[in-house]
């Protein structure tokens, strides 16, 4: 088949687009999973001289998901033997309330400092204790990696667009003659371009299948999974239902838009 070469270059171009989108999605997924893990370990201790409800905390900053009061009874019980009941009662009255705050998501350093300032502004809050060190090196590396991947995907998309554009010209050239002959015999536009659309759809499907195969192989070897598990994350690199469907839609979208451009370009030439 003469046009096999053209098929392959379109399939490779589509595959490249799909692959970089998928890598971006997987990195995003990894970071989200890692943030979730960090979020659960992360909390802020607040010392207050008044009882504060969860609603009051939430009103201070929407990032606060829930609050948990830290029981002081245990500490007081331990002091029972050493202090007189009177003093203990006095202490109970003056002892401030301790709260542990849980956040709805893993905060950025800016969000933490903003949160701390807001909490401290509250009249009844005496102390705020956060965990600045929780922005660990792994997390920072991951964010860096995400940026790198983003730049990488954008440049791949740019290069691929050029490739696809070049491919388009070739197609236009190859199909223009047949399409104009068909027009001379009264074929409507959709019939003239049916072959192009069929090719575009077939190529999109093939590119998606190749992508599924590629991720199937990656998952079979399992080294990616192993790598992620060392940082305590388990994610699905490629969801063979949702990701496959999304990839197919992207591939179909790209190739159909491409074909439409050829067809419209061809119409204008007549």
């Amino acid at each position: 088949m003469k046009s096999l070469k053209n098929h392959i270059s379109l399939i490779i171009a589509l595959f490249t687009v799909l692959f970089s989108v998928q890598i971006y999605v997987a990195v995003d997924r990894t970071i989200e999973a890692y943030e979730n893990r960090l979020k659960n370990d992360y909390s802020i201790i607040v010392v207050s001289n008044k009882t504060l409800s969860a609603a009051e905390f939430k009103a201070m900053d929407s990032i606060i998901e829930r609050s948990e009061s830290i029981a002081t009874d245990q500490v007081l019980e331990r002091l029972q033997g050493e202090m007189s009941k009177k003093n203990l009662d006095l202490l109970k009255l003056t002892l401030p309330k301790f709260y542990r705050l849980y956040l709805s998501r893993f905060p950025t350093p800016q969000e933490i400092s903003k949160l701390q300032k807001r909490l401290q502004k509250h009249s009844s809050i005496e102390r705020v204790e956060g965990y600045a060190q929780s922005h660990d090196t792994v997390y920072k590396l991951m964010l860096l990696f995400k940026d790198v991947v983003q730049i990488f995907s954008i440049s791949i998309a740019a290069v691929t667009s050029l490739l696809i554009l070049k491919e388009m010209r070739l197609w236009q050239f190859q199909h223009a003659e047949r399409m104009s002959i068909m027009a001379l015999f009264g074929a409507p536009v959709w019939l003239r371009s049916a072959v192009l659309f069929r090719l575009a759809i077939v190529d999109a499907i093939i590119a998606t299948i190749v992508l599924c195969l590629a991720f199937f192989i990656i998952e079979q070897y399992g080294w990616m999974d192993l790598l992620l598990r060392t940082v305590g994350i388990s994610i699905e690199l490629f969801d063979f239902v949702n990701d496959a469907v999304r990839s197919l839609l992207i591939a179909l979208g790209v190739s159909i838009v491409l074909t439409l451009m050829i067809v419209i370009g061809n119409e204008e030439e007549e």
Binding site: R178, I181, M182, F185, G186, A187, L191
Partner: protein
Amino acid sequence: MDKVIIAENLSLSYKEFETIISKASFAIDAGSFVFITGASGSGKSTLLKSFYGAIEPRAGQLMVGGVKMSRISTSKLNFLRRHIGIVFQDYKLIKEWTIEKNVMLPLIISGYTKDISSSQVQKLLGHVKLIHQSGKFPLELSGGEQQRVAMARALAHNPILILADEPTGNLDEYSSQVIWNLLEGANTQLKTTVVVVTHNIPSSITVPYKHYHIEMGNIHEIA
């Protein structure tokens, strides 16, 4: 008698202030056989193009098959073209299609079933003596054979009008004869209107015909 083509003060040109055909008025009867002659570059192909809507009238009126050709809509033009069979000087076969599929083109466009199309194509390939070449591709045939394929294609959908632009221009004697026989046959047996642009009218023609000559942008009938 019904007219298939009516031209009134028809002017044709590619550029705005140029004239290739100037204020031509003529009418072509349904079922007639017409020759158009003229020197090279006199505008024969241009006139034929106006009949199948590849060029719009610059001025004047042109009706083909009852359809006004000025500012014709794409869908109307497509409809009209599905009732016209064209034979081009340069054949215009689709290179990547087999001979059989090329002949089938007008039938595919009109939406005929595979069965009907196949038998029609076989019949036509028989008429143009190319039954054994049906699986080949256009570039595997000689010029004469390619033009016979184009001839079969032009007849495939039983058009009301056949337009042929120097169909035998530089073909061998045998292929020329096959093509003239088919054009005459379509005219006499199917009452198809035939308009042929040619350098010289073959002496073998037996049907009654009209003859128009183009000279200096003017079209006049030769008795």
